[in-house]
Amino acid sequence: MSSIITLTLPGEIMFVRFASQTAASLARLLTDENPPASDGAQFVHDFELAVSEAFTNSVKYTGEHDALQMLTLTFEFQPRQLTVSVRDANPPFSIDRPAPDIEKGQIGGWGLMLISKVMDSVTYRRDGGSNILSMSKAI
């Protein structure tokens, strides 16, 4: 059985912590209900981190023409997995990009890379005029 929780909020950076802490609350609830075999605190932190990165990107890359938009975070709460999808109306982008190579002096571009490393699966799709970035992690 899975539960769907939806959070709609303004794409303003002032809400980045609220968004990621809301994600952390749900992750904590999941680990309380189903104590993980491995490190529960890291599960919660990784989930919080991924949402902070995704929310920040949605705020940063609105494109020049866009006024303030509402963002939608959808959480799918399952007994042993939590999925979050972040929907924005930004220009399309790709998640298949080479990781920045710090030895070649490439600085930045770490957000999507970090998300892919701390989550178990990340998918991107374009739906109408929206980007939907979905990120799952199992406990």
Partner: protein, 116 residues
Amino acid sequence: MNITETSNGGVAVVALEGRLDMLSAPEFRNNRSIIDPEKTVVLDLEKLDFLDTSGLGAIVGASRQKQNLACGIVLSCMNDKVRRVFEITKVQTLFHIFDDTAAAIDFATNRQSAST
């Protein structure tokens, strides 16, 4: 985020507490010791509860403004959460990192006097 600054000889110890993300990055960047290209800084990360890549970018950006690129900013007391972000991104390779602040201050003080 709380920023506490103490001076230790010519080295500034800047301790961060709370969250360093896109919201608090400007405050970090504009800190007096961080912004001063001539100031060597030991950044104490013990009480930093949360760091994402916006915060990481602010730390890297600040170190690139330092006259002494290699050790204008020296890091100390990373907790597990912060370390995870530095490791995954490999940004740890750009910094001198110490487990305790005293060792970081010693190192920074030596490097500073060597370069003057």
